[in-house]
């Protein structure tokens, strides 16, 4: 197998993610993947199931630390700081690198309190109403909920809930937002809204998104990283096959494996 190649970058790298090895217990889940994430760009992670794309994404804001047996070798540099250095608190990392999950997961509290949650954690002293409104507008949800901010977040439809989760993630204006298959539980119309929203978001934020849907990556991502599963050594270890400009990768992949995947020969 070839060594993973990083995209030629002139743009500013916000997160430089170098995975040497990720283990769950003794199981080697991901190896040798270098994914630079560029400022104000959408970086898409694609690949067949089990290829480790979600694992790598969740390593970036240290969500995997919640898994007891998780072990990370490598380094992820965010504004020059290694996020896996000993003195780094995972909680702090998650406050600067927001996350939107596969299943919409609003809290069982009012729409307003859902969005204000991060502000309250940060003991924000400014105007809450303004920030909540701004976040809801940023998530393209304001018009639908402005008259029922007191209603429970769980009372919204699936697509609205997911946009509420995006509003919750952006209310504190974190520099980076990770999205783990944010549209996979949604219907086509809601999916489209989320995709349009992502493109809006990249003006102000850096976005990394995992998707199992190649067309979605083609529609929204500026850079795409293609992961695959290596079964050559008897395991099922994910690794980065190649990464580059999305158009380039889809039209002119360097690796045969990428071409086969993109043409639908395996999934």
């Amino acid at each position: 197998m070839s060594t993973p190649q990083s995209a030629a970058t002139t743009d500013e790298v916000v997160i430089d993610c170098r995975v040497n090895k990720i283990f769950y217990g003794n199981f080697l889940a991901v190896r040798d993947s270098h994914v630079p994430i560029l400022k104000n760009k959408i970086t898409g992670f694609i690949g067949p199931s089990g290829c480790g794309k979600s694992t790598v994404l969740k390593s970036i804001n240290r969500m995997n630390d919640l898994v007891r047996s998780f072990r990370f070798e490598g380094e992820i540099r965010f504004e020059g700081q290694d996020l896996y250095a000993k003195n780094v608190d995972p909680v702090t990392v998650r406050r600067y690198i927001g996350m939107v999950f596969q299943q919409p997961n609003p809290f069982s509290m009012s729409i307003y309190e859902n969005v204000a949650f991060g502000l309250r954690l940060a003991r924000y002293k400014g105007d809450y109403d303004a920030r909540v409104e701004e976040a809801l507008k940023g998530a393209a949800l304001w018009d639908e909920v402005k008259d029922k901010l007191k209603n429970n977040g769980m009372s919204l439809s699936g697509g609205q809930q997911q946009r509420l989760c995006i509003a919750r993630a952006i209310a504190t204006r974190p520099p980076v937002i990770l999205m783990d298959e944010p549209a996979s539980a949604l219907d086509p119309i809601a999916t489209r809204q989320i995709e349009e929203l992502m493109v809006e978001l990249k003006k102000d934020y850096t976005v990394a998104i995992v998707t199992h849907n190649m067309q979605q990556a083609l529609r929204v991502a500026d850079k795409t990283a293609f992961f695959a599963v290596d079964i050559s050594r008897g395991g099922r270890t994910g690794y980065l096959v190649e990464m580059g400009d999305t158009r380039e990768l889809f039209e002119n992949p360097r690796e045969a494996l990428t071409r086969e995947y993109l043409s639908g020969e395996f999934s």
Partner: protein
């Protein structure tokens, strides 16, 4: 018979599809009928209990009326009966127990459900706490008399000496009294509160946990701001059940509460509860006194009934709004 019919309908067929036999249907119907019967029987049983106790109590209700609830005398010799101190003692001791057992029970539930400990230690601790429920209440009573009361005496004396101006500490501990009774009651309702709160906390979906930690909440913030509000319906149910259990607890209280008919705020003073009153007076009660005691039993039943109904209503209300502010 049914099987033969199907064979005739599809002669030579290799299909093994058959309708349920008459016996299958019969068993199913009988089963459903029986479960329905049993379900209604529990309701009938409750009505029967109310009817018998209420029936026996009616003469006393006519004779004493409302004054039974507002009078503080209990003098069988003079034929004067009033249960206000017992009503007060029942509610006061149960509220104190709810306070103590509630705080500890919910705290234990949080501790055991939020991955503070390795899994096997959690399992052991859970069973130990459930064991508390298996201790007979008379043993709790004895433990209270011989261990707890001597143990808390120095603390009680100190509180009375230094904070005696507070109504809660206005008398000195004379032995059995509200404070030891409430402490033992707290321990007795602890397993109920802890077990049901644990179920409520464990039922929080994994995606909500991910959401809280994903927002960069610390464990403390996640528990306080997300998990406890999300599980509030179930936790409240646990508290109501614990309170109900405390209201009806008899033996340990009869041994520990002091059985003295006084209305008091002081934690160290002896008092009485409805259940203890019933337990201690029944054995030597005349026919006439039994009617009076039955009146007291009706009052206890109504109190527990109201508490449970109120609890149910609040749980339904919190579930509907999803625990939102």
């Amino acid at each position: 018979m049914a099987a033969r019919k199907t064979d005739q309908a599809q002669p030579g067929s290799t299909s093994a599809c058959r309708p349920p036999t008459t016996l299958d249907t019969l068993v199913d119907r009988t089963f459903r009928g029986l479960t329905l019967c049993f379900a209604w029987l529990t309701l009938l049983l409750i009505i029967y209990i109310f009817w018998r106790i209420g029936g026996t109590a009616i003469p006393a209700m006519h004779k004493f009326g409302i004054s039974f609830l507002t009078s503080t005398d209990w003098d069988p010799g003079q034929g004067r009966f009033g249960i206000l101190p017992e009503i007060w003692g029942t509610l006061y001791s149960s509220l104190l127990a709810l306070f103590g057992g509630g705080i500890f029970g919910v705290a234990i539930a949080v501790f055991l459900t939020q991955d503070f400990l390795p899994h096997n230690v959690t399992v052991v601790l859970k069973s130990i706490i459930e064991l508390l429920a298996a201790i007979p209440s008379v043993v709790y009573g004895l433990w209270g008399i011989f261990v707890l009361i001597p143990l808390i005496r120095p603390l009680a004396d100190w509180l009375h000496l230094h904070l005696g101006w507070l109504p809660f500490f206005s008398t000195s501990l004379s032995g059995p009294g509200l404070f030891p009774a409430a402490l033992v009651l707290s321990i007795m309702i602890l397993p109920t509160v802890a077990a049901i709160s644990q179920d409520a906390l464990a039922a929080i979906p994994a995606k909500i946990r991910e959401a809280a930690f994903g927002m960069g909440a610390t464990r403390w913030e996640s528990i306080l701001r997300v998990f406890l509000p999300t599980a509030s319906g179930g936790i409240f149910g646990a508290l109501v059940l614990g309170f109900g259990r405390a209201l009806g607890e008899t033996m340990a209280l009869a041994m520990l509460v002091g059985n003295s008919n006084q209305l008091t705020l002081s934690l160290f003073s002896p008092a009485n509860t409805l259940a203890a009153l019933l337990a201690l007076n029944f054995p030597e009660a005349s026919d006439y006194e039994v009617r009076v005691l039955m009146y007291a039993a009706v009052v206890l039943l109504v109190i527990t009934f109201l508490v449970n109904v109120a609890g149910q209503l609040i749980i339904t209300a919190t579930l509907r709004t999803g625990g939102s502010k």
